[in-house]
Symmetry: D2
Subunit: 377 residues, 4 copies
């Protein structure tokens, strides 16, 4: 079984998320990085490519060039990972889709609704896969939680509490990561709501399989001079009557990546925290709370699909991310080579990306209208 | 030093909170229960009184009778504890105040704004103390947290997350406690927001010393047929620019009395949970999180005032409640006998009760107006 | 129902554990403190007694005097609480037993085996109760754990891990509490093993209902000049084949009163920690761990007997201690007045005290013999 | 920079730890698996090799053959990973060392002291590296803890509590993993002490930099018919006066891989748990406990060396294991190519393996001599 060939746009020296994608792609041995337009600066592109062991002829300084040349090679890349800042997602995504190459794209989908729509149109026009790395959906217990909800164990969902709190933007900050994320021209008009709020929003929908129909939002920029929100409170109404509260903050002192999900149904509840992802609390009404562990007693097939090692040996962020890459490999082998598709192979796609864009837009609209409930579906 | 003499209205056999008040009053040896109108049913009143060791002549079946007779005795009660359902707070409170007797009253203040206002007027007209048992403010680390905020350790408060989640009303339930709490005629128009939401609201204000000026609320009654809210999401705006999110639920499966407070400032944050009240997380921005324990290393005088035993030996709900009774004793000895008033003697009063009434009313108003931001100060 | 009359020996101004006994006695309203030999210094005895509201004629400066006079009064004390340092337990205990008065005595039983034996003989000769305040056995979930083991839920017990770690003697320390506890003439030859090791040893036996038959110990005095052990590792063999590991330390930096018990059987296990006493982990082999809460879903009658308020509202150290006082009241009312004895009324007695004395002696013997296994039953 | 070439002995279809080594080797992109004697069964060896993408000519069914042929190739393997059961470590390790190939070997070193000594002799005779995968030493916070101890932050170490508890052998069990681990001919005479006790023993020594000089042990086989220990209590004496308690169990119901380390010094303590490895408690005497996170505020260079992603995004078991592989790559590049050796590159070696063998032997000797203290250094 050959490894799939991966290209990468962005992720050169000094970048952050590109390295994460590369580790995730390597972990399960399904992918090999063979090409890259790692930087728009030709020198940095070359140095970065050599450091990663790419052949000189597959180090590009233009993603357009790369799309064209890789599409023409018999051993061209199967998929490209796009790991640039948000405003640089749409153009390369469309270029590779049009070149017949699958796309794995970092989130959020784009920096503007227009860009998002253009990507969706390109996906539609191609018959290629578009995978959006809402990586937290790759955690085994999140997969299990989703199945537990779908199996009806929680009864009717009533209340969803989801939050993603960080503190790295508590003060005025300047560095590569902070700069583009707080620049509306690069990140889009949403700050915390775009960068981490969309993760929280997606996770809640992923686990509950519910569609948020309306929201009411209050956005703040607590740090003087900040041009995007750094703290957001959002109330959600889901189809079917469930309610949600979402909090995203980048000024929550003491929080690192505190993504936490709590789902309360008429029969049971689940509680999960990203910083301690190998366990989940499950409580049936009237019974003691159970701690379910990743792969431990009573764990589900959907979690087993996304796990590598026995319970009690923690898997983390990179493993969850790697599951998206492995699922992507299964999906591509299935569509390109007719390989059987394993059950429980679930991937966020362009529709999830569009939902995230609507979420951002609705938050801005509601916050601008004194918290009016606005549609987000 | 004589024990103060306490009377009680409500709290007869089968009641819940009356027993709590009695244990709280006993713990520190400052009070002695000597009189009671424990039930409006004379037989139950008598049986309850005898069980508690009251003299026959101080067992009443009418609080009016009790107010009059106790006021006339040379050894009459110093204070009365009112532990009836909400709609039965105002009349006895006013009667005892008018009889010149201090009042310790369970929360919320009343079942209607009119009743609340009448109590406040009676307090004003008397020169007696009115203490509202927002008992969570008696926890030592809550007292310390308040002082830490006031000392500026957290910087400017930006975001308050407070929640009080229970699950005992997850299904349709009928028993003495549930019945009156879900009957608007007895509890008032608020359900969860009145019963536990006011606790959360008070706690946030107590610790931050901030005044909430506006709120936006979404109320639900998830259990079919329920006449009051059983789940409430509230967004708050505080004077000075801080924001708050408050969640009160009585249908949160797996939660017992999960009152949790998180306060994020520009310099530091604190996190505290009522179910594990002997520790608190404190994080200065850029430093590791510290776990402060009740009475442990680095603890404050305000906590010491409210604590009885060394760190590592947990104090709980009854001790926090008892602190209100002991502080009440200090206050009464101070005003009645000129005894010195210890520092750190802080008690919720009728103003806090009125703020709670405004909170309930504003939640109902906002929820009825599609979440419009309405004033609550 | 009249309150029982309590006397106290020791516990004057500046003492620690006497105040704990008084709060414990007050909480449930079963006892009234009416007499005391609170100090051997007459002035301090008088000042302490007045502060506690005792009548002048029942403030004694000699416990012998008190035993004689109280025995002679028609309204004499029902029981005496002995809360002096260890070397001062035997003489007053024997005096009150001989005067026909029940004894509630702080632990350990005595400072020497000879004293312990003398107390036991006096108990035997009287028909009075002797209650030793191994107070941790009063925690509701500890009561429940004991019943769960007895009901066979854990199968055959295999391994017990019990530890009691503190840090207050990490450095050379001088204060009232430290001084007598590190003086072999007052505390007995055991330091940490006597003061807190006996608590751990008792708790393990209480919950498992197993008898330790042999032990092997390693004792250290890490602080230069200390005359008693401040750190002890002990291996235990129980009748029936279970094994135990016990650790007691007063130099474990960062630990306040970390008494922790873990019991592993062939079918299930339980884990409980004194600093967070309102929950207990219970795991059946092959099933997810359950968190049982005090009074919560699935809780047992034995816990309910020892609990006062609903789950989620924490009870703590004083409540557990108070349960011993309330159980003592039940026991005394039963034997003296023929009142019915509630089920689940369980109290540590002089036999437990003797077992603790043998534990201390065996630790010293084994440690002096290079860890040889020695008998402790 | 070329990837290093890795071979593997053992780890064919159905094996467990081989897959872990492969993921660990892949994660950081420093290694490429190019050859294997994955099974002694030629068919399984071939099928396993093809599945892993090995060239047919580098799939071997004999490790001797592989050692000879790989040594002869210009592109032969740089190192071999030995992932067979314990009794099959020595022969291949010696063969590859003699062929001039670096060895990465799973733990414990061997199934007999003789085999262990033979390996050590072969290491000595070669100038090749021998790395023993005590993988828990690769956790970032463990690296940091070691440096904190070495920097004197804890003062003099007094007490070490280390335990490794599992429950998978609670009942009689038969499967590939259980069978060889409970067969003395394959695992060696130690059961739990060899399989997981050596991990705990190594971890304690790694973090404290102390040498255990004597131990006293009590071993049990709780499951009827089991031929090796499944529960072990060990007391340790370290050079310099520190004491240790070690517990290893495979019958501790409810425990998955509960490796936990607590180190108490005269100035401070640390507490760390493998199942939640991204945080560590650090307490200076007289100060609040701090929670140090992997890469968070106040983290050390030694942890940064072993970490990949920002704090709050958990790394786990595979990342810790991968750090050993990356450190091994650094070491080999340094010795073979003269590349600079990064600071903080620390690897368990054959001396650690011999110490583990002495630990096992001493446990057996002491347990056979009624817990006598025996030398283990």
């Amino acid at each position: 079984m050959r490894r799939l060939r991966l290209g990468m746009v962005g992720g050169g020296q000094g970048a952050f998320i590109g390295g994460v994608h590369r580790m995730a792609a390597r972990l399960d041995g399904q992918w090999e990085l063979v090409a890259g337009a790692l930087s728009s600066d030709p020198q940095r592109a070359r140095a970065s490519g050599l450091e990663l062991g790419l052949s000189e002829d597959r180090i590009y300084s233009s993603y357009r060039d790369m799309a064209a040349k890789e599409a023409a090679r018999p051993d061209g890349i199967d998929a490209v990972a796009i790991v640039t800042p948000n405003h640089m997602h749409a153009a390369p995504a469309i270029a590779f889709l049009e070149a017949g190459i699958h796309v794995i794209c970092d989130k959020p989908l784009a920096s503007t609704p227009e860009d998002g729509a253009a990507i969706a149109k390109a996906v539609q026009a191609s018959n290629r896969h578009f995978i959006l790395t809402h990586n937290y959906s790759g955690y085994p217990l999140i997969r299990q939680a989703r199945e537990m909800v779908r199996a009806g164990l929680l009864g009717d969902i009533r209340m969803v509490q989801v939050e993603y709190a960080q503190d790295w933007l508590t003060e005025e900050t300047s560095n590569k990561q902070a700069d583009w994320r707080t620049d509306p021209a690069k990140s889009g008009a949403g700050g915390a709501i775009g960068d981490i709020g969309t993760h929280a929003f997606h996770l809640a929908g992923f686990v509950t399989s519910l569609t948020a129909t309306q929201l009411s939002a209050e956005l703040d920029s607590f740090v003087p001079g900040r041009r995007v929100d750094d703290n957001a409170m959002v109330m959600l109404r889901y189809a079917g009557g469930a309610k949600g509260a979402l909090w995203a903050s980048q000024v929550a002192v003491g929080q690192e990546n505190a993504l936490r999900l709590r789902v309360y149904g008429s029969k049971a509840s689940i509680v999960w925290q990203q910083e301690d992802p190998n366990q989940m609390q499950f409580t049936r009404f009237g019974e003691p709370t159970q701690t379910m562990t990743r792969g431990g007693a009573g764990s589900w097939e959907a979690a087993a699909h996304a796990t590598r090692i026995p319970p009690g040996h923690p898997e983390g962020y990179l493993e969850g991310f790697a599951t998206l890459y492995s699922d992507a490999a299964h999906l591509i082998r299935h569509s390109d080579d007719g390989a059987p598709l394993p059950e429980h192979c679930i991937l966020p796609n362009v529709q999830d990306g569009l939902a995230g864009m609507r979420f951002i837009a609705a938050c801005l609209e509601s916050a601008g209208a004194q918290g009016a409930w606005v549609s987000c579906d």
